[in-house]
Every structure is written in structure tokens, then in C-alpha cells.
């Protein structure tokens, strides 16, 4: 009897040890950074929502490119999800608020563009698998090296039509005042143009310029108010009938954000600039049902890349390595 008990105990002990070893299960070899998306019952409604305290913060490093070559940046990233939506919170240092994006300035009896850009952050996910995106990240789709099959015009596009990416593009001047991030996607670069496309529906921004390109065409409609950071929304604009009302030093928005409709306006945005940096929350349905959006399945892992633009155009950015997005119950 004692022998049987001993054998049973040994078998049980071995099974437990075996179970512990099984816990080794997944054996990842590469040191790829992971942003864990935590499940919450109710999604955050603001940048300071208590829900964000429960999410794990990941400091994602960025390397500067082109005019930012040799510089570094970082974005503290958090993510949570509910039954039907995903939420991201990004915080990064930026001592200068840049939201003018070539705004018009009236001086010396003429209109000129202010030589300034805007702050932005963008995220790229795979809708359909992009070859080597999971290991090389945006290098294979956005910041394509010379000589690559999709290197036409240098940027933005995939090597084949089967490869599709979902590009979330938060722009401090051109989308944020409308409460959205510009929802776009990328596909194969054609002979004539790049692979960036706007999602179905309407959105983006409207240029505020006359036909002769000498001055702004629109101003704030009566009874309306300027949006965040004094930016004129396309929906609140009215054609200028009397230019004599403008005084020296007046500034008028050049790129007027549209409120957006349909798939183009899937990504909602909340932001704040303060204490020398940006805090931005983006949220979207896990599955929008649109072909031009990545459908998040919380059982899967996703790869994504990010880019940061500090008062700069597409060429000059800070880029992250590819990151894993992992949902956690």
C-alpha cells in the first residue's frame, strides 16, 4: 500500500513539473516590444479617465529620420479594449505646439503662408499581411529603402495589391480639431501614384485658397466658433466677401479639417497639449466591418509601427521599431 502511495505521489509530482514546463509554452526569441491591450468593462471617456491607471504603460523609443537624423524621441503608450472598441493613449514630449500647417497671415497688405507645419502621430497596422512587416515594420511600407519594389517616390505603398495596411493618422491641425484621426489605408504603389488612399466616405481637410492662390477664400461663418487652437473647420466656413475687414497680423486657417463621414471618420480622437507635450487618445471599433480597416480579434496578436512628426512633413519623422499588440483578458 505504501508503495502505491509513493508511486502515485511521484506520478503526481512529475505531472505538476510537466505542467510547469508546459507553461514555458510560447518561446519567443526576438526582443520585440509588446503593448498589452487590457480588457476593461467600460472604455475611457477622457484623457484622465481612471481606466488609464490600470493599463500598463510602455515607453516606445523612436529614431529620427532625415532632418531629425541622430535624434531620439519616445512615446508612452497605453491601450485598453472593451467588448467592441479599442482605445490607445499616447504621451510624448514636444516643447513647441505646432498647429499652423501653412496658415495664412495678413501683413503689409498681402496674404502669405506661415512657414510652419503641424505635430502628428501615425500608426500602421496590417489589414492583409504585408510581407516582412512583422519583422521590419514601416521600413517595408512607408520608409522604403531605395531599390525596393515599392520604392517609387520613396514612400508609402506596398509591393503587391494583396498587401494592405491600415494607416491611422492623427494630425494636430488637420484632423484633431474635428475630433478624429484621419483613417486611411495603403496599398500597392502604381505606376502613376503612391499607395496611400483615404478610407471610404469623406474626411481629410479642405484647402482654404482662392483660385488665383493669392489669399484665403473662407472665414468663420457668423454665429460659429473657431475650433481647438483657433482652427477653422470646413463645416464652419463661409466665403469671404469683404477682405477689408482683415487687419495686419490676422491669421486664417489654410487646411480646414472636415468632420468626416463613413469609414474615413472611424477613429475618434481626444487630445491635449500642455506641460511641454502632447497627450492623445484614439479609439475605434474593434471591427468596423469596413474592408479598409484592420479588424481586431482579441485572440490574435498584431504588429504595428508608429511615426512621430514634430512640426514636419512626411519626409522628416521619428520612427518606432515594429511593435507587437497583444490583447489580454
Amino acid at each position: 500500500m505504501r508503495g502505491r502511495i509513493a508511486i502515485t505521489l511521484m506520478l503526481a509530482l512529475t505531472l505538476i513539473l510537466g505542467g510547469m514546463l508546459l507553461g514555458l509554452g510560447e518561446l519567443e526569441g526576438a526582443a520585440k516590444q509588446t503593448v498589452t491591450v487590457k480588457r476593461v468593462k467600460k472604455g475611457p471617456t477622457s484623457l484622465d479617465d481612471a481606466v488609464w491607471q490600470t493599463a500598463k504603460a510602455v515607453r516606445v523609443p523612436f529614431e529620427g529620420k532625415e532632418k531629425f537624423e541622430g535624434k531620439k524621441a519616445s512615446v508612452t503608450t497605453k491601450a485598453v479594449y472593451t467588448k467592441d472598441s479599442i482605445y490607445f493613449l499616447f504621451k510624448w514630449d514636444d516643447p513647441t505646439l505646432s498647429v499652423t500647417k501653412g496658415a495664412w497671415k495678413y501683413a503689409d497688405q498681402k496674404w502669405t503662408h506661415i512657414k510652419s507645419n503641424e505635430d502628428r502621430i501615425s500608426l500602421l497596422f496590417e489589414i492583409n499581411r504585408i510581407n516582412k512587416f512583422a519583422t521590419k515594420g514601416c521600413t517595408v511600407a512607408c520608409h522604403v529603402p531605395k531599390g525596393a519594389p515599392n520604392a517609387k517616390d520613396g514612400k508609402f505603398g506596398t509591393s503587391s495589391a494583396a498587401e494592405k495596411g491600415d494607416l491611422w493618422h492623427w494630425k494636430a491641425a488637420r484632423s484633431d480639431p474635428a475630433g478624429i484621426a484621419d483613417d486611411t489605408w495603403i496599398t500597392v504603389i502604381s505606376e502613376k501614384k503612391g499607395g496611400r488612399k483615404g478610407d471610404a466616405g469623406s474626411g481629410g481637410d479642405k484647402k482654404n485658397i482662392t483660385a488665383d492662390k493669392s489669399k484665403p477664400m473662407y472665414t468663420l461663418a457668423p454665429g460659429k466658433q473657431l475650433g481647438k487652437h483657433g482652427i477653422l473647420l470646413a463645416a464652419d466656413a463661409v466665403e469671404i466677401t469683404d477682405y477689408s475687414v482683415f487687419e495686419a497680423g490676422d491669421v486664417v486657417t489654410y487646411r480646414m479639417p472636415k468632420k468626416g463621414q463613413g469609414s474615413r471618420a472611424d477613429i475618434k480622437a481626444v487630445s491635449r497639449y500642455g506641460y511641454g507635450g502632447w497627450t492623445v487618445m484614439l479609439h475605434r471599433k474593434l471591427d468596423t466591418g469596413n474592408d479598409d480597416d484592420v479588424a481586431f480579434n482579441p485572440r490574435k496578436k498584431y504588429s504595428f509601427g508608429m511615426a512621430l512628426f514634430d512640426n514636419s512633413g512626411d519626409e522628416d519623422s521619428y520612427d518606432s521599431e515594429v511593435i507587437t499588440l497583444q490583447f489580454k483578458k
Binding site: 508511486i7 510537466g18 518561446l27 519583422t135 490574435k300
Partner: protein, 358 residues
């Protein structure tokens, strides 16, 4: 009712299966064939059946080409209803099979079940155990993810270091100097056709020897005549209950902890460093210890010697004594080898899994 029976019997007669069915119905086995202290063999069989069934499901969706393999596995796992449960069952089954087979072997070693007249029950069981890693190695590459791709690269380079035949066998496996579409096709054919066929043959052989030599009698307790019960339905029903329980438990485990699917394989990504899985940690340590001209010691001589020793055990230890306390030499050698394997595994675990990547 009798009309139906007559029809059934007639059909069996027409199919010439009546004799076989009658023999199966008449089979009597020991009543302790499937009890708590003796169920690892039955559990291993449950896991093998689950592996075959889940593997067949996945094969319906699998496409063995580097451009499509990953997407086909991803689709089967995440787009087909319960696809992740099925793949999870496959994943956890082979992990558990290794543990259960180890326990099965350990029990036979401890209780001297390998001794005459059951030498070939032991030998055939060992051969089955040697085939399981071949399943794992070939199956690991099929999802064409980073882990499978780079682990296979490492394994093949170790295999290629074997003197004389190493390079030849790697080329036979890969169909060329590197892993590509030919290699994936060969691994797929090996994993789904050749190895399952061989495995079924070996299991049949194991049962053949078991049927003829019988289960080992209990070592502990009083020597009493063991009661016999019919295989059908008594033991088969117990086995079916075990099958259902294991399938449900593994299904739940797979539901809560889906089987891992890494990033798609990128042969140009030399930054990926695969980590050895838990069951090869000790072999990996051996390869690390014996380097340079001594590589063959870690890759061939020690593992081969260990297998040879175990194969020869029933023919070396020929005394009829089965009680472990009265087989001190055998137990001492087994304990030393087990401790070495465990120690090397722990070292490997610390080195590969507890070391923080720089």
C-alpha cells in the same frame, strides 16, 4: 429486432468481418488495465487520437508553400469557428503526450515492466517515443512562423554537424541548401503521411506485443489472481470516458490560452534567436557543452548511447526481480541519468528563459 441482428450478421459475414468482431468481443483483459495507477498508456492513446483528429482538421485548411502557409494557419486558427480550440488541442496534446509518455516509460522502468517476457513491449514503446520528436520537428516548421523557421534552422545545423551523414540527411530533408518551398513540402509530407503511417504501424506492433505478453503484474501488494473483464465494453467504455474528459479539458485550456502563432517567418531577419523548447533543453545544453571537435559527443554519442542503453536494458537486466528496492544498481543508474537530464534542463531553462535579453 432479431431481423435486424440477422441482417447485421449477414452483412458482417459478407464483409468477412464476423470472425474479427467475434474475436474482439471475446477479448478478456485484466480489470486493472485502465486504473488510476495504470492509465498513462491509455492517456497517451487518447492524446494520439486527438492529435490525429485535430491534425486532420487543420490539414483541410493548410497550404504548404512559404507564401501561403502562415496565412492558412492564421485563417484556420482565427477565422474558422473553434479553429483556435482545435489548433490549441493539437498544441497542448503533443506537449502533454511527451509528459505522459515519460511517465509511462518511468513507471515501466521503476516497476521492471520491461523484463521478460515483455522485452519487446518495452522496445516497441521506446521506438514510438523516438518517432514523436520527428513529428514535433516536422510540425514545428509548418506554420512558417519565426519560431518554427529559426528553430528548424538551428536543428538542421546541429543535424548537419553529424560526421559523414549530417550534410546528406539535411539535404534530403530540405531538398536543397536552405529552407524553402521544397523543404516545407517535404516536412508536410513527412508530418501528415509518412510519420503517421509509421506511427500507426508501431502502435499496432506495441499492442501486438502487449496482447501476446500481457500487462505486467502488480509489484506491490499480495499476489492474487487478477480478475479478467471483457475489453468491449468494459475497458473501451472507460477509455471513451477518458477521451471525452481529456478532449474537454484540453479544449478549455486551448480556449483560454490559444496556441501560439508567432510572426510570419522572415529568412532575412537574423536578429531572431529561437529558444529551445522545454523538452530539448538538456540536449541543447549538451550541444553547448561539447563544442568544436567534440560536438559529435553532444549531438550523437551521448543521446545515441542513452537510447541504446535503454533499448538494451531488458537484455542487460535479466534477473526476474521487479521490486525497485531489490534492483539497486538499475535504480541507481536510472536516478543518476534522470538527475543529469533534470539538471541540464534546469541549467538550460535558466540560461534561455530566465536570462533577460539585453
Amino acid at each position: 429486432m432479431s431481423g435486424t441482428d440477422n441482417q447485421s450478421e449477414t452483412l458482417l459475414e459478407r464483409l468477412a468481418l464476423d470472425g474479427l468482431i467475434a474475436r474482439v468481443r471475446d477479448l478478456q483483459v485484466s480489470s486493472d488495465s485502465l486504473t488510476w495507477s495504470r492509465f498513462c498508456g491509455s492517456l497517451a492513446l487518447v492524446l494520439v487520437v486527438l492529435l490525429f483528429l485535430s491534425g486532420a482538421f487543420m490539414a483541410f485548411y493548410y497550404s504548404p508553400s512559404p507564401g501561403a502557409a502562415y496565412d492558412s494557419v492564421d485563417y484556420a486558427q482565427f477565422s474558422i469557428p473553434f479553429g483556435d480550440v482545435v489548433r490549441g488541442i493539437h498544441h497542448y496534446s503533443w506537449n502533454l503526450l511527451l509528459v505522459v509518455m515519460g511517465l509511462h516509460l518511468g513507471r515501466a522502468l521503476l516497476l521492471g515492466a520491461y523484463k521478460a517476457p515483455r522485452q519487446f513491449v518495452w522496445v516497441s514503446g521506446l521506438v514510438i517515443m523516438l518517432v514523436v520528436p520527428a513529428f514535433i520537428f516536422t510540425g514545428d516548421l509548418l506554420p512558417w512562423d519565426q519560431k518554427g523557421y529559426w528553430s528548424t534552422q538551428v536543428r538542421n545545423s546541429i543535424m548537419g554537424s553529424v560526421p559523414v551523414v549530417g550534410d546528406f540527411q539535411v539535404r534530403m530533408l530540405q531538398g536543397g541548401p536552405r529552407l524553402g518551398i521544397v523543404a516545407l513540402t517535404r516536412y508536410y509530407v513527412l508530418h501528415t503521411i509518412f510519420l503517421p503511417g509509421l506511427f500507426l504501424f508501431l502502435i499496432a506492433g506495441h499492442f501486438h506485443f502487449l496482447g501476446h505478453r500481457g500487462l505486467s503484474s502488480p509489484v506491490f501488494g499480495r499476489e492474487t489472481a487478477r480478475r479478467k473483464v471483457p475489453l468491449v465494453p468494459n475497458i473501451v467504455n472507460r477509455w471513451l470516458v477518458l477521451f471525452i474528459v481529456v478532449a474537454v479539458v484540453l479544449g478549455l485550456v486551448a480556449w483560454y490560452w490559444p496556441a501560439p502563432l508567432g510572426d510570419p517567418a522572415d529568412p532575412t531577419d537574423s536578429t531572431y534567436v529561437p529558444k529551445p523548447e522545454w523538452w530539448v533543453l538538456f540536449l541543447n545544453q549538451l550541444v553547448g557543452i561539447f563544442t568544436g571537435p567534440l560536438t559529435v559527443v553532444g549531438t550523437v554519442i551521448i543521446p545515441g548511447g542513452l537510447v541504446g542503453l535503454m533499448m538494451a536494458l531488458p537484455f542487460i537486466d535479466r534477473s526476474p526481480e521487479r521490486h525497485p528496492a531489490r534492483r539497486k544498481k538499475t535504480m541507481l543508474v536510472a536516478a543518476v541519468i534522470s538527475l543529469l537530464v533534470l539538471g541540464l534542463s534546469v541549467m538550460g531553462y535558466i540560461e534561455h528563459h530566465l536570462t533577460v535579453l539585453e
